[in-house]
């Protein structure tokens, strides 16, 4: 049961990059379309799940003084695996994501999870944690990419979805649009969680009053 909990916390409680404000560079740079966002998210999820499991398996061997360097080597290894795999099977996507594939190494999410979770938890729990957070990241990137693509280009996954007279807001596809769009999404998520917290508090108060 607790494995399930480790897995699902990445979807809301620690949803990157909103709750866990890490990994902003790829979030801003590659989400010009839903497809790019999903591809980047899944690549990161794979690296995160694998590196978390390996680091957790090695956690008793790695001396704590050089742990950061050791974590970086593990993460970099899986990034090279992803890089070569994408080059072989998804070349078009590889070209579009460009420099941001090797930059998964310095995306703070894998290192952050290694430090905060995998270095002190079991292999299965770390795998679940990495996969959950990674998929959460993929979902965030996919939604941001979807919003930017639909409003910025009038398409979804390359197919026209807006009515014919629709004037695309090209601003959203440019660099400034990325920052503004992510900022507004973060504010929306803050709003939802503030509402949730308030409702929980009221429910608790009601329960206390009844008891």
């Amino acid at each position: 049961m607790s494995l399930m909990k480790e897995f699902t916390k990445g979807f809301w409680e620690l949803l990157p990059p909103f709750r866990l404000v890490l990994g902003l560079c790829p979030t801003l740079a590659v989400t010009t379309s839903a497809e790019n966002g999903l591809g980047m998210g899944l690549a990161t999820a794979f690296v995160l799940a694998c590196s978390n499991m390996l680091i957790s398996a090695l956690r008793k061997i790695i001396p704590s003084k050089v742990r950061i360097a050791a974590f970086i080597v593990v993460v970099a290894t899986f990034v090279v695996v992803v890089e070569l795999t994408m080059q072989a099977y998804f070349y078009a996507l590889y070209v579009k994501l460009g420099i941001f594939i090797p930059l998964i190494v310095v995306n703070c999410i894998p290192l952050g999870r290694a430090e905060a979770f995998a270095s002190s938890n079991g292999v299965l729990a770390s795998g679940a944690d990495g996969l959950g957070i990674g998929l959460g990241f993929a979902i965030s990137l996919f939604s941001l990419g979807t919003i930017r693509e639909i409003f910025g280009a009038g398409t979804f996954w390359g197919v026209h979805v807006m009515w014919s007279g629709y004037e695309p807001m090209a601003f959203l596809l440019k660099a400034p649009g990325a920052f503004v769009c992510l900022g507004l999404m973060l504010a929306a998520i803050n709003l939802i969680s503030a509402r949730q917290a308030k409702r929980k508090l009221e429910a608790a108060r009601l329960a206390a009053a009844q008891a």
């Binding site: 560079c25 090279v80 660099a175 503004v180 900022g183």
Partner: protein
């Protein structure tokens, strides 16, 4: 390349293709350390120093180790290891030789290993096939552009302390929207260099 070309090249790297606002490299420390002006200037100086040095080292590694031995596919691992050990080395040397500078920049150095602008610039240097001098100029100019954006942003953010901000926008959300408008302002420089 003549002198004029270099000037255009520098303006392009600092303002038009600003690594932070146009190419999205190094955004985590950008939002993290930009709450106060003094930390922002310290971080900027550390970034300029490390990016230039790391650019030179990774360039040498690429052309004198990776290519002769045909192991370019290990670029990512080699570069990040070079950068991580370089940052550590710089920290130790600085601590022994220039303690004053170490006290000013020391706390930012460990943060720089995971600043993707460093690895990003190193990879761009190789992708664009710069020669050694072009690489040095590009790395330095990009880093200066990063520092410029970071300090300007910190100046804006210091004013937020005096403003009444809607609760849901507090912190990172408003930072991102502000960065968006700065990026819009910087994109106005695109007219300076015709490309």
């Amino acid at each position: 390349m003549g002198f004029g070309d270099y000037m255009l090249f520098i303006v392009g790297a600092v303002l038009v293709n600003n690594i932070l606002l146009a190419q999205f490299l190094g955004n985590c420390p950008f939002l993290g350390v930009s709450k106060r002006m003094d930390t922002a200037t310290g971080m900027s100086m550390a970034v300029v120093f490390v990016i230039t040095l790391a650019g030179a080292c990774t360039w040498l590694v690429q052309y004198y180790i990776l290519i002769p031995f045909n192991i370019e596919y290990l670029q990512t691992i080699f570069f990040i290891l070079v950068i991580a050990s370089l940052v550590q080395l710089v920290e130790i040397i600085m601590q022994k030789t220039v303690p004053g500078l170490y006290r000013a920049l020391g706390i930012y150095l460990p943060l720089i290993t995971t600043n993707c602008a460093v690895l990003g610039v190193a990879i761009i240097n190789i992708q664009k096939e710069f020669d050694f001098v072009q690489m040095l100029v590009f790395s330095f100019a990009s880093a200066v552009g990063y520092g410029l954006a970071l300090c300007l942003f910190a100046g804006i953010r210091e004013r937020f302390a005096l403003a009444r901000i809607p609760k849901v926008f507090e912190g990172t959300a408003l930072g991102l929207v502000t960065a968006g408008f700065m990026s819009l302002a910087f994109s106005g420089f695109a007219g300076l260099v015709g490309h």
